[in-house]
Amino acid sequence: MDLISTLVINGLATGMLIFLLAAGLTLIFGLMSVLNFAHGGLFIWGAYTGVWSYQLSGSFIIGIIVAIVTGLLLGLITEKLIIRPVYGNHIQQILITLGFMLVLQEFIKVVFGPNQIAVSPPAFLQGSFYVGDVIFIKYRLFIIILGLLVYFVSMFILKRTRIGLIVRAGVMNKEMVQSLGINIRLVFMLVFMVGAALAALSGMLHAPYSGVIYAEMGLEFSILAFIVVVIGGMGSFSGSLFAAILVGIAQAFMAYYVPALSLAVNMLLMTVVLIFRPQGLFKAKG
């Protein structure tokens, strides 16, 4: 029982971390239908700038703020220069965002050097404690709370405003949305910036979790994010949350009970979901 609780709680924390990572992509890929392979680049830039300012200032909060600001700025630049010319064309998106990903990743090394950088959680989030026989790691609880926060805020915004609808409509028929008097460019830009900021934030939060950051981690994690968005059902925040937790918990349990398959768990999960429910878990068939 304690074992199960431990696995569940840690799986949940991992899931939340993955969710934070996928949340940005849910907007950019799920909602705007942009195959953004530079997502990982936004992630590492968030991580590096955030960690840099965290270590410089000694304040974790400042680190988080800097990461978010970096995400917004980079999102702005990315959207204007890279994404805008290629909306609606997946093939061009792949090429241009991969190119940009290389630039972002390599630039990290120019600015911050090629070595990995070690990061530890701020003092107030360090360590772990027992409740009964179950171990709770503070930083993970923090991640869980933050993940839920991001989820509820996003849901609130999407449900309460027309933004979500407008973006989806804009993807289906941009001209029509414009003809209805909506500045879809601006909307896309803002949504993209928010997506980028979420990516950057998750990069920053990921850093103390794994203890190090390095330039190559971007692509690795963005593939995971794509998987989660697809499993959850494109564009569904709840789907991404559910899928991320599913992936997190599956990883934990597989690693414990079927270690031989733990390398393959993400891929297996996605294969099974896509074969039996191609539209993703949280999407009505259509």
Binding site: I82, P85, V86, N89, H90, I91, Q92, I94, L95, I96, L98, G99, F100, M101, L102, V103, Q105, E106, F107, K109, V110, I223, F226, I227, V230, M234, A260, L263, A264, N266, M267, L268, M270, T271, L274, I275, P278, Q279
Partner: protein
């Protein structure tokens, strides 16, 4: 008249092939030859990818699985048997049969899915192959990989060059014929509008599966050549990076043309080689990968349809435009020119 037309482009391609035959006698440096050989191999791989992406409209993120199957089949056979031509032929046969079986199964299992989902599913399947290669260490040597020996003739750079060139030329003409056959036309129709193709009386799943098998087998063959050109194999032949590379080559060259992927492969290989060698010229180029990334971005901006695609479109538009200017609406068109442009726009 039409025949003469077709032959003309064929002649041009043949002439280029002949030129390439002479190259190794001029460029005797084996390292340059090695680069050109890699270019041939990736050109084959990219063409196979374009059968899926450009002609049938299927984005796959897992095409590398067939490439890897080819590479591992060869490496394992050559490692376990004598290094004779006979074993090499056996290796090719095994590679092709395995790839055909796997692509058939993957095709039947997955091709009913829509774009993204198909792409992600193939990504997952290729990922499983990668894990498999990692785990079955007794056979594959895990991620470090293993080396193997080859019969003398295949070790010779010159003859390897010729083998790869010959394969490229044959496969190019073979695939070109395929894409211009009635069958190939139906593939393009599927790319454009699946449902409508169905109601014209074509069974689209059959077509997609056949396309996927053709692409799989050709990719596997590219994998065979790749592993003999390296005489070494490791799990990198199943890595997603490889799919991404071939995807980039195809897109840069121009999807939906066969010459496009070849040009794309050449461009990527040589740009990579050239840019990375800049690192020796000046420290400022140590971060040459940034330039490499910028090349991709520029290609999209200046050649939105890929290099070949964009040039063709420009050409097509200009001709069409001129024609539109000269003609009044109801005049009948000259048949020859009509076919020409149709050709021009869609084919390599």
């Amino acid at each position: 008249m039409n025949l003469a037309k077709v032959e003309k482009s064929t002649w041009i391609y043949l002439a280029i092939s002949l030129l390439l035959v002479i190259v190794p006698f001029i460029v005797t440096g084996r390292s340059m030859q090695f680069i050109i050989i890699q270019f041939f191999i990736f050109a084959i791989f990219a063409m196979s990818y374009d059968i899926l992406l450009g002609y049938t409209g299927i984005i796959s993120f897992g095409h590398v699985m067939f490439f890897g199957i080819g590479a591992y089949s060869t490496a394992i056979v050559m490692n376990r048997f004598d290094s004779t031509i006979l074993s090499f032929i056996l290796a090719i046969i095994i590679a092709i049969i395995l790839a055909a079986i796997v692509s058939l199964i993957v095709g039947m299992l997955t091709l009913r899915l829509k774009s993204h989902f198909y792409a992600m599913l193939t990504l997952a399947l290729a990922g499983l192959f990668l894990v498999g290669a990692e785990k079955w260490r007794s056979l594959t040597g895990g991620n470090d990989g293993f080396t193997f020996s080859l019969p003398e003739i295949l070790r010779d750079s010159q003859s390897l060059y010729m083998l790869c060139l010959l394969s490229l030329v044959l496969i190019f003409f073979g695939l070109r014929r395929l894409t211009k056959s009635p069958f190939g036309r139906v593939l393009m129709a599927i790319r454009e509008n699946e449902k409508r193709t169905e109601s014209l009386g074509y069974k689209i799943v059959h077509y997609k599966v056949i396309a996927s098998v053709v692409a799989g087998v050709v990719a596997s063959f590219a994998g065979v050549l790749y592993s003999i050109s390296l005489r070494f194999v490791n799990t990198s032949v199943f890595a997603t990076d490889m799919t991404i590379d071939v995807l980039l080559m195809t897109i840069i060259g121009g999807v939906g043309t066969l010459i496009g992927p070849i040009i794309g492969a050449g461009l990527v290989e040589f740009a990579h080689h050239w840019l990375s060698s800049l690192a020796d010229v000046h420290w400022i180029f140590e971060r040459w990968i940034i330039l490499y990334g910028i090349v991709y971005i520029l290609v999209v901006i200046f050649f939105p349809l890929g290099i070949v695609g964009t040039i063709q479109k420009k050409f097509f538009n200009r001709q069409n435009y001129q024609k539109k200017k000269q003609q009044n609406p109801r005049r009948k068109l000259d048949e020859g020119r009509k076919e020409d442009e149709d050709e021009l726009y869609r084919n390599g």
